[in-house]
């Protein structure tokens, strides 16, 4: 299958280098989960890919066209943030319809598309509710519906269920998996939960500790049993966490240097 999204040599420095260099390709229809220890720059990487923040080095190509921060590209990127970022003074339907305006749809078409995507996210009947009147899970569903409504080339999700309780989290994971299967969208999903990544992703990208590079890229195609995969990833993440906290002696690479 064709490469939809290509991340090539992306790096980011703030005061210190946060992302050293990260490269990978995503095929159309893939569900990629980005994993890594806290503070390794997962969110920053996602923001660079979405064109929200500029990269210090490297380029992001979507259908071979560069994604540049601050530009208004013809490529469409849908983003679901950690928080729902809904406008509290608009109903769920108005919130979704709002982001369709730049696409040049008429008012009726916007309403129709918004309703269809709210229904897809399991919110049929709640179109005229205000965000403050529904649960956190329903607000996050609305944010997903909003991101899908623009029919994005790629859907970026930044720990979208971090604020939900365990039960809602599990429900939403199943829902996202279902929506992915129904729509065939290309999804990039940041999470710090290994179980979550293994449960929903087709490709798992494990980042190293800061300054981050790719530690491991794993196809989650069932060839390795889930339990085994979770154990392996847990071991990796613990190594990276220790390295980040200065326990460098135990990591293989530090040993090589000696």
């Amino acid at each position: 299958m064709a490469v939809k999204l290509r991340v090539s040599g992306i790096g980011k420095d703030y005061l210190i280098p946060v992302i050293e260099t990260v490269s990978f390709g995503v095929e159309a229809g893939e569900f990629v989960c980005l994993l890594g220890p806290n503070g390794c720059g997962k969110t920053t990487l996602l923001r660079i890919i979405g064109g929200i923040e500029p990269a210090t080095r490297g380029a992001v190509l979507l259908d071979e066209q560069p994604v540049v921060a601050g530009d208004a590209p013809s490529r469409k990127v849908g983003v679901v943030f950690q928080e729902d970022r809904l406008l509290p003074w608009m109903t769920l339907e108005q919130n979704v319809a709002l982001v369709l305006k730049p696409l040049g749809l008429g008012a009726d078409a916007r309403r129709e598309v918004a309703r269809r995507h709210l229904a897809l996210a399991g919110l049929g009947g709640f179109e005229h509710y205000y965000p403050g009147r529904v649960s956190g899970g329903m607000r996050q569903r609305t944010a997903i519906a909003r991101a899908l409504a623009i029919e994005p080339d790629v859907l970026l999700m930044d720990e979208p269920f971090g604020a939900l309780d365990a039960q809602n989290r599990r429900i939403m994971q199943t829902e996202v998996r279902r929506i992915w299967k129904e729509t065939g969208r290309t999804i990039l999903f940041v999470t710090h939960s290994i179980e979550e990544a293994v449960a929903i992703g087709t490709t798992l990208v494990m980042l190293s500790a800061r300054p981050s590079r790719i530690r491991e890229l794993i196809r989650n195609d069932g060839r390795v049993a889930r339990g085994q995969l979770i154990d392996d990833l847990n071991t990796m993440i613990m190594e990276e966490v220790e390295r980040q906290q200065g326990g460098a002696a135990v990591t293989p690479r530090a040993k090589e240097r000696e």
Binding site: G50, V77, F81, R85, L87, L98, P102, G132
Partner: protein, 267 residues
Amino acid sequence: MAERAEGRGAARRAARSLDAWADRLHLPTLAVAGLAVGVWALLSWRYGAYVLPSPLAVVRGLGEILSTGEVWTHTGASLARILVGFGGAVALAILTGLAAFVSPRARAVVHDVLAVLNATSVFVWIVLSIVWFGLSHWAPIFTTLMLTLPVVASNIVEGVESVDRRLLEMGDVYRLGGREKFRAIVIPSTVPYLVAGMKVGFGLALKVSVVAEIFGVTSGIGYIMNYSREILATQMVFVWALVMVLVMMLTDKLVFDAVARRLSRWR
């Protein structure tokens, strides 16, 4: 015994619901007001009508201006001046808020200017407006404008500063244009601050414009109060003070509270 306890419970419940009703009708406040009127009547009887007119004289005075229609002439004149002065202040405050939103440098200047205006006394503006505009309508109008501007503008600027940057970023991600972001995100975040500022500002406008009306105009609540004092009709001073209080309370309840309720529908 159980029965008696139940009976007592019912009595207590009845007493509690009576209490609730008394509170809803502001009965405690009315009781205090009644006491105050009683003391007022006594003091009036002791010191005479010039210093303290009797409650009855005040009620009679109120009836008089209501029946002659004089109450509308002066209240109308005051309100018209407030509308111009306060309206101008609101318009300027909105422009200030826009400037503060567009440029951080403008915001810093606005903060400093508002601090100075906030620290300036009413009397400065009254005296200056008489110097600049003579004895005319424009003196109370200008005074009202200069005094309410910092109150309303501070609120709007605070509202502009409180716009959630994360929502604006969401707008960027979905490629909303500047005008669309302004309409959908900035205005709805700022309007509640504007309304709160206008509520305080209007109260201030009513109090201040009346003071400015003492000088140089021949209509308005401030003028007529001062005139009543000069012709030794102290009861009319009380009557007009009462009118002012009523106007203030009514606009608060009927205009600002209603608008605030409508704005917070989604909460």
